[in-house]
């Protein structure tokens, strides 16, 4: 899976490359608009992550260029501006997803994962992790071929965990993923704990080992 990251902030570029690299993706980077355009014309990528504010051009123009060369790469736009206009512009031009800085790397990874699945397998593939099988099309989960009843939030959690397997995921990343911007309202992360507890119990009841490891004071790791 080839991913092109077009981002002028080197530190950010490195973090993304490093994190996605560990998740098994092959990452290429471009530091500005020209370099980005050159790379998308030189090679095929499954997914392109582009910052809007780039030297010599805008990430939105990258989207235009990709559409012009009829690339079927998935496009994720990153912006420092949380502007609805930018978002609608990006999506209107044909970007598949939009993330506002700052974002969680685990969130980016989950988005990339979902996007690639949607783009390249038409969503018809199932996600397999050891003895767990997730079928995104019907949102069903099987453990040892037997269905497990999960709530919507528990299902979202499981998919997020699998996309970020072997990584430490912070509680705030989980909360942001499950509730979006609204989670600021929640007051504490206690409610996440109960969802995780339920998910863990249901998976173990179905015969799976305890994959959800608590990292003390930090978050969780799925492995």
């Amino acid at each position: 899976m080839n991913i092109l990251i077009i981002e002028d902030e080197q530190a950010l570029q490195e973090s993304i490359t490093q994190y996605l690299g560990k998740q098994g993706y092959v990452c290429e980077v471009a530091a500005n608009f020209r370099e980005g355009i050159q790379k998308i014309n030189d090679a095929d990528y499954e997914c392109i992550i582009a910052d809007i504010g780039l030297p010599y051009g805008s990430g939105l123009d990258i989207v235009k260029e990709l559409k012009q060369i009829r690339s079927d790469a998935g496009i994720i736009i990153i912006s420092a501006k949380d502007s609805l206009e930018d978002k609608l512009n990006g999506l209107g031009l044909g970007a598949d997803d939009y993330l506002t800085k700052p974002f969680h790397l685990s969130e980016l990874s989950a988005r990339v994962n979902a996007l690639l699945r949607r783009k390249h397998f038409g969503g018809n593939t199932s996600i397999i992790f050891q003895d767990i099988q997730v079928i995104p099309a019907s949102k069903t989960v099987l453990v040892h071929q037997k269905p497990v009843e999960l709530t919507a939030k528990e299902y979202q959690l499981l998919v997020y965990f699998i996309a970020n397997q072997h990584r430490v995921i912070t509680k705030s990343a989980l909360a942001a993923h499950l509730w979006g911007d609204e989670y600021d309202m929640a007051g504490s992360y206690d409610f996440i704990y109960s969802h995780i507890k339920n998910l863990r119990r249901k998976l173990m009841d179905a015969g799976a080992p305890d994959y959800i490891k608590t990292v003390y004071g930090t978050g969780y790791r799925f492995e």
Binding site: A80, D82, L84, L105, S106, D184, M185, A186, F191, V215
Partner: protein, 445 residues
């Protein structure tokens, strides 16, 4: 800025609360205070002059009569019965000499049959000599008609004076009003002025130099304020934007660092805490930026929003939170409330109010929501004390400092949305319950 606006309101209230009055009223009162004594003094002086003049006139008549009589007395014999006549108006009788050189003129009171009372008379008395005989001659003239005359004149004069006074006041008021008209127009404009509209403030030219000067000064002051405001606004926005990238770098670096398997639990925990703090910082930044955008009117409503739909969406969204806290939510929706709002602002409004009602509630507490075509009200039980009116809706004023996850901006955002969208938000605390009521703003005037 809302804070500045509140301060200026307060000053205005204090000014009008003291013994101030309208310019026109003050003008009229001063005019009356000066004109009334002046007119009264003038009236009295005129009356006295008139009275004196009339007496002089009468005295001349009396002296004239006396001369006529003396000429007549010379022509009649000494034994004529004339020298013995006594009437109220005329009498002559023999007297001892010597003769007076000048007649004695005085005002006396004498009984008059017709009037049945004593009335004033002007009297001339003189001892005269006719052919070496001495007589006391007394001639009197009633003053009663003259008095009536003076009274009538005084009355006419008083009426004329009062009429003149009223007319002057009226004219004065009319002139003042028209002269001060541009001043009142400027005042009205300044009173209704909002910070965001300061750039297109203008005053029509007046014919009064001072008013033109005032308008110019006001224009300069407001454009300076607006200029500062724009700079501040841009600075805030730019700073907020520029902060997002370094925040993203730091946050992502920490997230990567968390993946390091060699780290001890204590190190992991402090990285997680730092990550958390950065998270809060970025949320704070985000909220401030959002407020700035609302203030800039960047969210233009496209049409009426059904608050009922927004509410139902958020009740679903917060379902787990409500269930986790075992809150009892009762809704009384009699009708939909339609508001002219940008969808994002409608979401934020309801989400912040409902979120607060959940966040500041205690387990097994209650939330009561009322919705009709007039208002949206939300009320929640809480252990937190009432929010002091001075801190309500203010940025960073937390009523509960122990809530680590609150950035104290939720209500400030609600207030900002209300202020910029012709809505009113009210707060009251009753029986340990916090009530927030949202309704459409109807202008008072």
């Amino acid at each position: 800025m809302p804070v500045r606006r509140i301060i200026s309101r307060r000053c205005m209230v204090r000014v009008t609360g003291s013994n101030s009055m309208k310019l026109l009223t003050k003008n009229t009162i001063w005019f009356l205070l000066i004109m009334l004594p002046l007119l009264a003094a003038g009236g009295i002086y005129l009356y006295q002059e008139f009275d004196k003049e009339l007496k002089k006139e009468m005295d001349e008549e009396l002296v004239n009569d006396k001369i006529q009589w003396e000429i007549y007395f010379e022509s009649i014999p000494d034994n004529s019965p004339i020298f013995g006549i006594t009437t109220p108006e005329f009498s002559i009788r023999a007297a001892n000499g010597p003769a007076n050189a000048q007649p004695v003129l005085q005002t006396i009171m004498q009984y008059q049959e017709v009037e049945h009372k004593k009335v004033p008379y002007r009297q001339l008395e003189q001892v005269i000599s006719i052919r070496d005989k001495f007589y006391l001659l007394t001639i009197r003239k009633s003053l009663i008609e003259k008095d009536d005359l003076i009274k009538n004149i005084a009355l006419v004069m008083a009426l004329a004076f009062i009429g003149l006074l009223l007319f002057t006041i009226l004219v004065n008021r009319l002139i003042s009003r028209s002269i001060w008209q541009p001043f009142y127009q400027s005042l009205d404009k300044m009173e209704k002025l909002q910070l965001e509209q300061m750039h297109d403030l203008s005053f029509p030219d007046t014919t009064v130099t001072e008013f033109n000067r005032l308008n110019e000064v006001l224009l300069n002051a407001t454009s300076r304020i607006y200029h500062d405001f724009v700079i501040m606004k841009e600075l805030t926005e730019d700073a907020a934007h520029e902060m997002q990238t370094p925040l993203a770098i730091a946050q992502n670096r920490l997230e990567l660092l968390l993946q390091d398997e060699a780290l001890q639990p204590a190190q992991l925990q402090s990285i997680a805490q730092t990550h958390e703090a950065l998270q809060r910082l970025s949320h704070l930044n985000h909220s401030l930026l959002f407020m700035a955008k609302i203030g800039n009117k960047q969210f233009v409503p496209a049409g009426k929003i059904s608050i009922r739909a927004v509410l139902e969406k958020h009740l679903r969204l917060f379902e787990e939170l409500i269930r986790d806290k075992e809150l009892l939510v009762s809704t009384d929706i009699s009708n939909d409330l339609l508001l002219l709002l940008h969808p994002l602002l409608a979401d934020t409004l309801i989400s912040n109010l409902l979120g607060n009602a959940i966040k500041y509630n205690y387990p097994k507490g209650q939330i009561t929501i009322q919705l009709n075509e007039q208002l949206f009200s939300i009320c929640n039980t809480s252990e937190y004390p009432p929010i002091p009116a001075t801190q309500l809706f203010q940025r960073f004023k937390k009523n509960a400092s122990n809530l680590a996850n609150s950035n104290g901006l939720g209500l400030a955002i609600v207030k900002k949305i209300a202020d910029t969208n012709n809505l009113k938000i009210y707060y009251l605390h009753k029986d340990h319950e916090h009530h927030f009521i949202l309704r459409q703003h109807r202008p008072h005037h």
